[in-house]
Symmetry: C2
Subunit: 291 residues, 2 copies
């Protein structure tokens, strides 16, 4: 697969807006900000969730969300995915009622919450997940990936206030998705993988966001054995990564990183002392913009 | 009310953990990371949501969540809030079945999602909200608030990967909450305000997180007329702030800021040129850690 098969498109006028404000000196200034719009997801006739999203790739987002929440299983047949921009909905249709819908029908009589059900289900299958022991990550790939990802034009560099997630192989970034919604970027990649028959085996995830429990669970669900983030992590994220045998690397910036789990997959082939600190113009601007 | 009536407690052993990893030179290093645990919220007998939280102030979080989602109305009587650490649940009890539960019972027959209902309700009441036109923000307060908030010991400075939200009045930070969950910090403040009879009138919110639609909606719901963030914003966040007459300021770091809405409440009493850039040791470390 070629590098940046999907990459951010900061020139797409639907994805950013110019807004005019006043700065600290009282001067008018215009800045670019990412769009954010609601998208209500249905699984057949059932309303699942309203997501806040930048709005690109709604079909991938819908499918990836259902897969990552275990509402659909990998390989479940899907008849179609219908996106309607006017009423801001996306409907995923399956030939027969899914197990999830049946389960939910019972559950709503007592509790009513699709999200709670999904969370329970995720934790159930999480333990059963298996990641390839053969996968490797060379530190030279890690540095190359960081450099390539941070240099490519993105909505983050253009407008800030956005999360990025990149599916990679060795030192090549393949699919780079961004979104204002916390987990939408990774869900869009999951949807893209499912629709293109790409598995997580031998792949690497790079994300700008924090390594929380949910990020770890999703990565493991997708069968990706290696997860890298520029940001920090939570204790539970580390704990889950260790249980699942996921290789997890946090605070990867410039030459620095910390391996928190699965260090046996790492090959130290680069001399960290020779890696340059990030050039200022390549450093992700307004770092806290995505906080 | 005195400054920092509630402030972060980085010394609380329940809130951070030391984890050992390996750095870029292959050396073992220990870092502090915030805890993250699930907390399932019930409104009477109904399961509402499972939140990922750092775990402090579960009662404030529960009540604030329900209020900010319009599942409870301000002034609705509450019989009690029962937190059970062992089974990670918190139950908010009301003397009679709430309107929300009745509405949800009808809705689950067709759709089943508490979150969707709440979102619709939020947008309904959003337009009806009114913020005090008399509120003012002096730029000298803004600079003082930033300085005080960033200098006080916090989990962010200790462990990163966390969001902060501070309820302020003039140049005084009053209640400073942090959480790993995106909106938990502001919900905990909402719960604290409700339980202490404090209204949003004349108050200021300072947050480290992005100004998305949901942050703006919650601030307006809580009756707080002024919202300041170190981070960026989304287009919809700006749009909603303008509709609601909220004063919204983004990218407030060092001497810089940008007013995106409600600039008429701002009084330029500080000379930005005389404000020092943030000292490096006071700058929020690992900025992207909370991304």
């Amino acid at each position: 697969m070629k590098e940046f098969t999907i990459r951010p498109n900061p020139a797409d006028p639907r994805l950013t807006e110019r807004v005019v404000g006043t700065n600290e000196e009282g001067r008018e200034v215009a800045i670019s900000v990412p769009t954010e719009r609601p998208l209500t997801l249905y699984l057949n006739k059932r309303e699942i969730v309203t997501m806040m999203t930048i709005g690109d790739y709604p079909e991938y987002l819908a499918l990836g969300y259902l897969l990552n929440q275990n509402m659909l299983k990998a390989g479940d047949p899907v008849d179609g995915i219908d996106y309607d921009a006017d009423i801001e909905t996306v409907v995923v249709r399956t030939p027969t009622t899914t197990n999830f819908e049946t389960k939910l029908r019972k559950k709503t009589l007592t509790s009513g919450c699709a999200q709670g059900t999904a969370f329970g289900d995720m934790m159930e299958t999480f333990d059963a997940s298996r990641l390839s022991a053969e996968a490797r990550l060379k530190t030279s790939w890690l540095y190359t990936l960081s450099r390539k990802i941070n240099a490519v034009p993105s909505l983050y560099l253009e407008a800030g206030a956005i999360h990025g997630c990149v599916l990679c192989e060795e030192d090549r970034p393949l699919v780079y998705m961004e979104d204002v919604g916390r987990h939408n970027a990774i869900d869009k990649i999951a949807g893209w993988m499912a629709m293109n028959g790409v598995t997580g085996s031998g792949k690497i995830f790079y994300t700008t966001g924090r390594l929380t429990s949910e990020m770890v669970i999703k990565t493991v669900q997708m069968g990706v054995p290696i997860l890298i983030s520029r940001s920090g992590c939570t204790a539970w994220g580390v704990d889950l990564a260790r249980k699942a045998g996921l290789t997890m690397i946090g605070r990867a910036k410039g030459k620095r990183f910390i391996v928190l789990s699965g260090g046996e997959r790492l090959i130290y082939d680069a001399d960290a002392r020779t890696v340059a600190e990030e050039a200022k113009h390549l450093r992700r601007k307004g770092a806290e913009d995505a906080a």
